[in-house]
Amino acid sequence: MSARSEPGLRAPQSRTNGDPVSEENALAAWTADEMMTVAAARQLRDGAACFVGIGLPSTAANLARVTHAPNLVLIYESGCLGAKPDRLPLSIGDGVLADTADAVVSVPEVFNYWLQPGRIDVGFLGAAQLDRYGNINTTVVGDDYAAPKVRLPGAGGAPEIAASCGEVVVIVRQNLRTFTERVDFVTSVGYGSGPGDRERLGLRGGGPRLVITDLGVLEPDPVTRELTLTSLHPGVTREQARAATGWDLAVAERLSTGAPPTTHELTVLRALEATKHGSPR
């Protein structure tokens, strides 16, 4: 049940409300990452087909499946279609995914027959850097590709997930390192440099519909395509969000506040997280 926090993440202190003396208080003392995961899970409608990356996306998708979306179809790039894991996989290829899938297909098939034609409703992506148009970098930090400051894992399935899914949901912690004016490398295209770019490029999926962070939720402006803060998590201020963004963050006129995690959501999420912390049976 340890909260996963990353060095450098400026976790808003306001969100660990008080001393966890009772079980109820312990549940109430949710972390920023938990709020982010719960907010992401809530966005998944039952019955949707969802292309799931490992880490927070997988946690959120499984949380949704165990709570409000029992018929969510989880698709992992390892070839597992309709996986129904009873514990969180550590990787996209854990045995529990193949064991519980409706079908296990080859990796070329999952990309060619399932992702590419636009059969997947929702693509769930993480990001190391994100810009105001939802373009994503997971390749290198630094201006020089050949001599990067930080070498990141790279593209994986993301470029085509971002291109082909009906819509994309990005889960990323919001801070000056991740929310940058310009990504150092475009690994996956959001809205390019603005309106009409996806169409010009011939990308057939809808692009980022939501960016869910540890501070709140951003949505692309319907006209300018610029990511706009539309919702804050409980206890977070718009100033905190703007201070954690490397560009002049647009804020919606009607800025809502998300509901905190329910006891049920937290209980299920923590039970799921607990299954990840050992090797599988």
């Binding site: 490992i54 996209i92 291109a163």
Partner: protein, 272 residues
């Protein structure tokens, strides 16, 4: 019919200095034992190819076997970054590492083209990303019927592909099941292939979800029980997630890594 060989002989025979080598396996069935044998035999100047270079490639890169990496995602799945890979790219340690970088869809289709005897594959991919700026191996292609522009990538044809599977029979017919990734394509795309297996049996009992590679399409088969560890072989073992987590610490420091390599690879012989 595939030859049945020892792992040491198979690697000695089929993996050569300067080769383009693909060790495939998508989280499941990763040929760790074969990778360790390549390190033990001191192969150099390899071009390593793999969709998901993970811990085994971190080890091969850290051991100095590789000159070049062709890949689409280089990380420790579910844990984080690969420190030996990073150190090679950022600080050329123990030697510089050239990169050719793709997306999963591109790499998978490159293997498909290789397996199909075609010089290239077509996909909807890479469009708008910075990936095409860094290689000439991603090019536009026009549909001769609709005029639409798509993306072409050249076939991958490794000199040798190494994979791990659950079983083979004595004729070298190979059987794998569970997540089988891109292994069939990687084997069929290669000029030579080496398959390590959990066990060699008299008869391959059919299993749901199986992929069977006929022995006449495989060069050699070597028995290597547990040869996927810390990855796993469905029906034989489970993924050693603790190892993957521990690797983060082991690989962070060059000396710790060298000590690990000495103890767990060099001082451990291959299965005879």
């Amino acid at each position: 019919m595939a030859r049945l060989v020892s792992l040491a002989d198979g690697v000695a025979d089929l993996v050569r200095d300067g080769d383009v080598v693909a060790l495939e396996g998508f989280t499941h069935l990763i040929p760790f034992a074969a990778g360790h044998e390549i390190i033990r035999q001191g192969r150099r100047e390899l071009t390593l190819v793999r969709m998901t270079p993970d811990v085994i490639y971190d080890q091969l890169i850290g051991a100095g076997c590789a000159r070049r990496l062709v890949f689409s995602w280089g990380g420790n799945p579910g844990v984080g970054s690969l420190h030996r890979f990073r150190d090679a790219v950022q600080h050329s340690w123990p030697r510089p590492l050239e990169l050719e970088e793709h997306s999963h869809a591109g790499m998978a289709n490159r293997y498909v083209a290789g397996a199909s005897g075609l010089p290239f594959a077509v996909l909807r991919g890479y469009t708008g990303t910075d990936l095409p700026r860094h290689t000439t191996n991603i090019r536009p292609i026009t549909c001769p019927f609709t005029g639409e522009t798509l993306t072409a990538v050249p076939a991958l044809r490794p000199d040798v592909t190494v994979v791990h599977a659950q079983r083979a029979d004595r004729a070298g017919n190979v059987q794998m099941w569970g997540i089988t990734g891109v292994q069939k394509e990687a084997v069929l795309a290669a000029h030579r292939s080496l398959v390590t297996v959990e066990e060699i049996v008299d008869e391959l009992e059919p299993v749901p979800g199986q992929v069977v590679l006929p022995g006449w399409a495989v060069t050699a088969v070597a028995e290597a029980p547990g040869g996927a560890h810390p990855s796993y072989a469905q029906g034989y073992s489970v993924r050693d997630n603790d190892f993957y987590r521990a690797w983060d610490e082991v690989s962070r420091d060059r000396d710790t890594f060298r000590a690990w390599l000495e103890r767990h690879v060099h001082r451990t012989g291959a299965a005879a």
